[in-house]
């Protein structure tokens, strides 16, 4: 067992363990902080897949942006942190059955399929320049549409969130 394998399993354990805490923890603040480690572990998995640009993007956007948004949401929607921070679950048994069936199916498919793994893999180093080139040539239209979508989401989120509460009389 070489170092590569050991570090892969460490990152996989970090990801899955943190995801388990996110899903099963009763305390929503703890779940939000466990999500940080889950995103971090996924970034490490991207490094293993030689996706350096995706890994950095994951750290910047997920850990730096989305997680902060989620924490804002947690803090703004709990009455008092020590009373209402606990959240319940509903329909646990059907959910467990559905999820167990899905996980078994997925793992069975992944395990039994004979994937067409490319035998001669060139090592991709420095993916960022090639990604930039692809974004401005082959994927130019989705790139522009994504920028418009982000603008619309920005304006829409600000519009929805700052609506004043009507006084109830």
């Amino acid at each position: 067992m070489d170092l590569y394998t050991i570090i892969f399993y460490i990152f996989a354990l970090i990801t899955l363990g943190a995801a388990c805490i996110v899903v099963f923890s009763r305390n929503i603040v703890r779940a939000a902080f466990a999500l940080l480690f889950a995103f971090f572990g996924v970034a490490g998995i991207y490094v293993f897949l030689l996706a350096d640009f995706i890994a950095i993007t994951q750290l910047l956007i997920y850990v730096g942006g989305i997680l902060v948004l989620i924490l804002f949401g947690v803090m703004l929607t709990s009455h008092q942190i020590h009373v209402d921070a606990k959240t319940g679950t509903v329909q646990t048994l059907p959910a467990v059955m559905i999820v167990a069936a899905l996980a078994g199916t997925l793992i069975g498919i992944f395990w039994s399929t004979n994937w067409n793994v490319n035998p001669q893999l060139e090592i991709m180093d420095k993916t960022a320049p090639q990604i930039g080139e692809l974004l401005l040539t082959k994927y130019l239209l989705p790139f522009e549409i994504a920028s418009v979508v982000l603008l619309v989401a920005l304006i829409g989120a600000a519009m929805i969130a700052r609506r004043e509460k009507k006084p109830k009389d």
Binding site: I28, L49, Q58, I70, Q91, N118, Q130, A146, V149, I160
Partner: protein, 110 residues
């Protein structure tokens, strides 16, 4: 058994796929069973991450091009937009209903 240990010792495409499958299932469990809308959002983010791992893994092991990376970038962009919109909606719901439990929000108009 020896074959399985040998498989465990050489991480390849299947390892990443099974990892993403487990992550996807955990996210789906959060969506199905949690009451708090923000926990549902966390489950969605876990599922998007699982899908991204699949894209990048196939890009690394099967196609050896960067198309999967591009898709992953777009998924991350849309996840950011989606998180912002959902947070705005949740804050608005909290102002109107004084709760964010998805099973108690059952009125379109008060």
């Amino acid at each position: 058994m020896q074959e399985f240990i040998n498989w465990l010792q050489h991480p390849g495409l299947t390892h990443f796929l099974i990892l993403s499958g487990l992550l996807f299932s955990l996210g789906l469990f959060a969506i199905l069973s949690r009451r708090n809308a923000i926990m549902v959002l966390m489950g969605i983010e876990l599922m998007l991450n699982a899908a991204n791992i699949n894209f990048v893994a196939f890009s690394r092991y099967v196609t050896a091009t960067l198309d999967g990376h591009i898709v992953a970038v777009f998924v991350i962009i849309l996840a950011a937009a989606e998180a912002a919109i959902l947070l705005a909606i949740v804050l608005n719901i909290y102002q109107n209903f004084n709760t964010v439990n998805v099973d108690e929000i059952n009125q379109l108009k008060d």
